[in-house]
């Protein structure tokens, strides 16, 4: 139950009313945070206990992962290209343009690949997940599932959760590869860096722990996107406006959470 925000003034003393309203708002936020936490717990719990709807997971991997390939490749290519341009400008000042390859590769693999790919997936697939579940909620389709003796979490939420966790690391790797290729195109073909140096230095400086760090990040971002977007759809307000608001909130919240979580993961891992 959500606490009511006080609008009356029982004491007539303005600071007390302000405190009451602040307290009520804080309680409301706490209640919502608690509900989100419980949602996460149920999502993970059902994902870890059989039966898992494998066919639905595969379909969601197709939607979240395969469907995001084009946008991830496009953004990856241009991110790598602009990194190469900016990196060459900075490195050539110190006569270190031979390190352009490692700069592009490390930036992409450790940071930009997982983060930008996740932001793209949140915008493309996350918003669609929220809208789809929100419409199912409004159209009583989730209630219909429950009344068939089927668990809506297993049918709707868990497949998205697992699919996002499977798809995100693959998309981040794709982003990295295409980005490194984009950086190569600009650095080697346009700016004149030696191709052997570009690739050779990447092999020297890029370590397995960098790659694994990026993959762990991408997996956790998949979890965040599916958690936030499923939650917002599951508890959407009524009507088209409610679904529209939930969709916007889902994309904004998951994007912010991705960036915040990225900082903490980077601090912990590197």
């Amino acid at each position: 139950m959500q606490p009511e925000v006080l609008t009356s003034n029982p004491t007539g003393f303005a600071p007390v009313v302000l405190l009451q309203q602040l307290g009520a708002r804080a309680l409301l936020l706490l209640a919502r945070a608690g509900r989100m936490g419980i949602f996460l717990g149920r999502m993970v719990g059902f994902a870890l206990t059989p039966p898992v709807k494998v066919a639905r997971v595969v379909r969601r991997v197709h939607f979240i992962g395969f469907g995001s390939i084009l946008v991830v490749m496009l953004t990856g290519a241009f991110t790598g290209m602009v990194l190469s341009l900016q990196g060459f400008y900075a490195l050539s000042r110190f006569g270190s343009d031979a390190f352009l390859g490692p700069l592009v590769a490390l930036s992409l693999v450790r940071e930009l690949g997982p983060v930008i790919a996740a932001l793209m997936v949140a915008g493309r697939a996350g918003s669609a997940i929220t809208a789809e579940i929100g419409i199912m909620r409004n159209g009583q389709q989730l209630d219909a599932l429950e009344l068939m003796g089927l668990n809506p979490f297993r049918y709707v939420v868990v497949p998205n959760f697992l699919a996002a966790m499977i798809s995100m690391p693959l998309l981040a790797c794709l982003f990295d590869v295409v980005g490194i290729w984009g950086g190569y195109t600009v650095g080697v073909k346009l700016l004149g860096v030696s191709g052997g140096t570009y690739m050779g230095e990447i092999a020297t400086y890029l370590e397995m722990k960098d790659i694994m760090g990026g993959i762990y990040k991408a997996i956790s971002f998949g979890g965040i996107i599916s958690w936030v977007c499923c939650y917002k759809g599951y508890y959407t307000d009524f009507g088209a406006e409610g679904v529209s608001r939930a969709t916007t909130q889902a994309v904004v919240m998951s994007s912010v959470l991705i960036l915040v979580w990225d900082y903490f993961m980077t601090s912990a891992m590197f």
Binding site: I135, Q141, D143, A144, L150
Partner: protein, 241 residues
């Protein structure tokens, strides 16, 4: 048998149900009527276990629905069918797949057996020529009939209808009610129907419950409604204030 025992429910401190008690015998069909916004759907959602009461309980064949969780609740609900006001069809699935959905998910039947059963259900509701259409491509009456077919295909012991004829023209609404009546005669399910089709729904049901101001004001055979001493009941039946 469904026993509703002293159910109370409030939303934002506004009481909607104020101590409702009702017993629906096995095989009995009960109409729940009342003015719009007086809590009929809320009561039906309690009976189906979609809402938890503030106090009181709902017993289904002696099992307390309000205290069941997880697999036990899912098992009990497998005996339910529910026809929602808007149909609640899965809009990305065809009429056939909507009706087949519970069979595919809840049984181990082969696709051939499922197809036979689904087609029989579609014939029963007169939709055999529309099985490939999506819910958005069929009329409101067909959506309701598809929802009925989906509810019937599992042959539930308990079937609930939330205004199945709302939004339909009088002839189609009568057709849906006749279909429900026929299904009840054949399948003998225990049912509750919320309806505003007065007095037509009285031909379909065994007893009528009138919900007014969060309380049951009448519970008995349809022919006793007009003789009720309660003015609110008479007003509802005659349609005159």
């Amino acid at each position: 048998m469904i026993q509703i025992e002293n159910i109370t429910k409030s939303f934002d401190d506004v009481p909607v149900l104020r101590g409702i008690s009702l017993t629906v015998e096995k095989g009995e069909f009960v109409a729940l009527i009342g003015r719009s916004g007086y809590g009929k759907s809320v009561l039906l959602r309690h009976v189906a276990g979609l809402l938890k009461p503030d106090s009181g309980r709902v017993l289904v064949d002696g099992q307390d629905l309000t205290s069941l969780r997880g697999r036990e609740l899912e098992a009990l609900r497998s005996r339910f069918g529910f026809v929602f006001q808007g149909g609640a069809l899965f809009d990305s699935l065809s009429v056939f797949d909507n009706v087949a959905f519970p069979l595919r998910e809840k049984t181990r039947k082969s696709e051939e057996e499922i197809a036979t059963q689904v087609r029989a259900a579609l014939v029963r509701v007169g939709l055999e020529t529309s099985e490939d259409k999506l819910p958005a491509q069929i009329s409101g009456g067909m959506v309701k009939r598809t929802a009925l077919a989906r509810a019937l295909v599992m042959e539930p012991e308990f079937l609930f209808f939330d205004e199945p004829e709302t939004g339909l023209d009088p002839l189609t609404a009568q057709g849906v009610l006749d279909l429900i009546h026929e299904c009840h005669r054949n399948l003998k399910f225990t049912g509750i129907i919320i309806s505003h089709q007065l007095p037509r729904v009285f031909d379909v049901v065994d007893r009528v419950a009138v919900l007014h101001n969060g309380q049951i004001r009448y519970f008995g055979p349809p022919d006793g409604l007009e003789r009720s001493a309660d003015e609110a009941v008479r007003q509802l039946v005659t349609g005159r204030a």
